[in-house]
């Protein structure tokens, strides 16, 4: 029983991190249009919010939060990542916002696209 508890305390939860990232992005970028003067502020706010909440989880992990905001202009882009780490203990979440389904439902002309990656590296 104790062993299970320890395991839970020492591994990070994929769903939790997913939820934190989604909520942070939504709260900063909901209903905004791409504005060059404000983007830097938004992107910093997202990174800080996510990092802070991750630290509050209190797990023995190092975190890297990487956020990209791109103006939607029809240009193509690809993001890929490769990692050299412990595949059992470490993990990543990559969120692309907004999801196309969301955009259609809200019928909003989305002028920006956000890709946020969170990497969790175990310290144990």
């Amino acid at each position: 029983m104790e062993e299970n508890q320890n395991l839970e305390e020492n591994t990070y939860s994929q769903e939790e991190v997913d939820r934190i990232t989604q909520e942070s992005i939504e709260s900063v970028l909901k209903e905004v249009q791409y504005d060059e003067s404000k983007v830097q502020g938004w992107i910093n706010a997202i990174c800080e919010k996510v990092t802070q909440q991750l630290i509050e989880l209190g797990k023995p992990y190092k975190y890297i939060v990487h956020c990209m905001i791109m103006q939607r202009n029809g240009a193509g882009a690809f993001v890929t990542t490769s990692q050299w780490w412990d595949t059992v203990a470490d993990g990543q979440i990559i969120i692309s916002w907004p999801k196309d389904k969301q955009a259609k439902q809200e019928q909003q002309k989305n002028t920006l696209h956000c890709i946020c990656s969170v990497f969790a590296v175990s310290m144990i």
Binding site: Y34, E36, V39, Q40, I43, N44, I46, C47, E48, V50, T51, L54, I55, K62, Y63, I64, V65, H66, C67, M68, I69, M70, Q71, R72, N73, G74, A75, G76, A77, F78, V79, T80, T81, S82, Q83, W84, W85, D86, D90, Q92, S117, F119, V121
Partner: protein
């Protein structure tokens, strides 16, 4: 850990070596090539893998994350930011941008000491 048992930091000569290698790789892979959506995926995967392979053959005491963005050159704004919660003495990151006529390649390398 080197032979004296001292922790090696990413933020020293290692960082410069990695920077040179990443710049060379981007030059080789992206110069004189036009952006093609169908093979951009495999191209960025190749860049990531090459860099990761080079990093890991020489350095066994770090965990690495390599992030590569390939973007078609267009009239659009792009902002990137990263925030890290780690040990500032031993861990570090590197960001390299390479611009050609047709596209922009941005590579991030994050290293966490074991």
């Amino acid at each position: 850990m080197d032979s004296l048992g001292n922790q090696v930091s990413f933020n020293g000569p290692l960082k410069n070596e990695v920077q040179k290698f990443v710049q060379q790789t981007l030059h080789k892979e992206l110069d004189k090539i036009t952006y093609d959506h169908s093979d951009a995926q495999s191209r960025s995967n190749k860049i990531c893998d090459l860099i990761l392979k080079q990093l890991t053959t020489n350095n066994k005491n770090f965990k690495f994350i390599v992030n590569c963005l390939l973007m078609q050159k267009a009239e659009c704004g792009l902002n990137i930011s990263g925030s890290c919660y780690w040990d500032n003495e031993t861990d570090g990151s590197l960001t390299i941008k390479h611009e050609t006529e047709a596209m922009i390649g941005i590579v991030n390398v994050f290293a966490c000491a074991l």
